[in-house]
Symmetry: C2
Subunit: 364 residues, 2 copies
């Protein structure tokens, strides 16, 4: 029997002592085990940090970037940038499904993988000939393998693929926000730091839907404030630099009349931990989705402030998270408008990435 | 009015835009505000990582280490190692209490500060003349300031000061473990990774007291297994390398018969995130106390494993945590025996530090 977490695909180090994400090299052969799924790849979305590192290393020389990506995939059997450690996601079409696969996929389904490329066996067969090496979206022919415990979402017919991918990239945030809010016995107030971004706007909508007593979206400047006010996704909108703890706490207190019961951190800049803790009421919850979060800064910050707050590491996976996020977009036209505006103004960027001030999760 | 989090003591950067922990320099003058407390310092316990960096930099030259510590305190108005960013804790006697201090302290109380030295205004008056620069425990004359939201614990009369300090150093872990366990409606099983260490043994005792259905302590080798079995603090004891996810999950499953509902990570080595997630049942909780925890490894690891687990950043503060931990030691003679053995076998080390494989929290 094959391992549901893909241990049987780990070639280096030998002995199956580490998971595929930590492995140096994976077995990317196309034959599938009884619980595996093979996908014909259509496009890779490289993680923004990974593409930036490669592009800067090669001074923007697209041919050199392409050659290195090909070399990484050939050497490692997966697309994991050895410097940044990050990968990305992919879209493709289901090609073969093992008889014991629990993923519910069928051949012909067009899917996005919601697990990172850093743990996905991948082989490229076209030399990435259709990619100029100058953007994060990589047209690609080849195959990828999903394990029993992998996650993939079927792309919906009623939403543009680019919009759907942008939503799926951050779909853990609204699902976890909804869970946290709905578990309060008294309706909590919710502050979303980075409320106009992708994960932020979805989290605001999720908080309201889950019964928040009031919401505030914190944004870095007037343009985002105007966009979020127009979208109507938050009860209040306020401007603050999330790296300034005093200013952030003041903005949240000013908008809600007191500290927030739940604070959701969706801005991908370092140094937001203390502000988020200070903006949260005693007994409250801080959910850190930003991959720029420092574990030590959060742990020692709360201790130093004698803050009795529950701090959650934003898990990108919850059962049903993809469906939940896509449904939010269908229910809230304002979210779709925010996303489409973001996609339209960032034509050169991968839909799986985001500007640093707005991203929920760029570390895929 | 002074700021309860000490903003009024921040000299650099100017403008009170950051909290004392992030500040370059603090105002350490002895005059206290209405909600402040002044302590006459008796001893500093330097953070283990900080002392190691200083000692290695100066090739073990104690005079040079002492000179640099004096220079740091004089320059910054606090003891925060500029390389490691860490500080430590201190013990001393309450000297003056502002009329509006909420800390419940009285002049003459012998206390340990439970907030980090990295945010505590400190002045040294004896040139650290009684310290040879060769150990983490620093006899010291001078004063320190506590803010309205600081935390200090009165040292108990019935426990040896060194034992009490070692317990107070990790007192957030058992308190949070107890809270997590007691919030389950069905009694959960609990795995403590690093169960024979300071925070680990306290967490095992707390889990049992809070009603855990069963506990397992995971230890790295036979000597710790024998010590933990003899202590009787865990229902099961098993040996595994916490950095090997497959071995760790197998050890927990073998001991409990299934994955743990609650997994508490108390080993201060990097790379334990995936194993802790894999050892935890769907819908379960992982509490990360180790300061070696990587936020990204935890977040992306759970996503990559499609693991629906709640992941907590171990907050070092909960109301009543010091009293709770000291009471555990009084109730469980086995904990006292484990701690005393640890103190006895590590005479050159600070009681506030721990060996890397056993520590709960060395980042103070």
């Amino acid at each position: 029997m094959t391992s549901p977490v893909g241990l049987h695909r780990v070639l280096e180090p030998p002995g199956a002592t580490c998971l595929p994400q930590a492995a140096q090299r994976l077995d990317n052969r196309p034959d599938i085990g009884p619980d595996e799924v093979r996908i014909l790849v259509e496009r890779l979305n490289l993680d923004a940090a990974s593409f930036r590192q490669l592009s800067e290393k090669h001074h923007g020389d697209g041919d050199a970037v392409r050659a290195e990506v090909l070399d990484i995939i050939a050497t490692r059997g997966k697309m994991q940038n050895p410097v940044t450690g990050s990968g990305g996601m992919l879209i493709g079409t289901v090609d073969a499904v093992g008889p014991e696969s629990p993923l519910g996929l069928a051949p012909g389904d067009r899917v996005a993988t919601l697990v990172s490329l850093t743990l996905t066996p991948l082989a490229v067969t076209d030399g990435l000939a259709r990619w100029d090496g100058r953007g994060e979206q990589v047209p690609c022919e080849g195959h990828a393998i999903l394990f029993g415990r992998s996650i993939a979402a079927v792309l919906p017919d009623d939403l543009d693929a680019e919009l759907a991918l942008a939503v799926l990239d951050v779909c853990g945030a609204p699902a976890l926000t909804a869970r946290v809010v709905s578990r309060y016995t008294e309706k909590p107030t919710v502050a979303v730091i980075g409320g106009a971004g992708k994960s932020g706007s979805l989290s605001l909508a999720a908080a309201r839907l889950a019964g928040a007593a009031g919401t505030v979206g914190i944004v870095p400047h007037a343009a985002e404030r105007d966009a979020l006010v127009a979208a109507g996704l938050a009860d209040q909108v306020a401007i603050a630099d999330a790296r300034d703890p005093v200013a952030l706490a003041a903005a949240v207190n000013g908008a809600l009349g007191r500290a927030a019961d739940v604070t959701v951190v969706c801005v991908d800049v370092p140094g937001c931990e203390h502000g988020a803790i200070l903006a949260t009421a005693d007994g409250g919850t801080v959910v850190f989705f930003s991959m720029a979060t420092s574990f030590a800064a959060a742990a020692l910050g709360a201790e130093g402030l004698a803050a009795d707050v529950t701090m959650l590491i934003g898990n990108g996976y919850l059962p049903g998270h993809a469906t939940y996020a896509l449904d939010l977009v269908r229910k809230e036209p304002a979210i779709r408008a925010l996303f489409e505006a973001r996609i339209a103004t960032a034509p050169g960027r991968s839909v799986a990435s985001d500007t640093p001030s707005q991203s929920g999760r760029t570390g895929h």
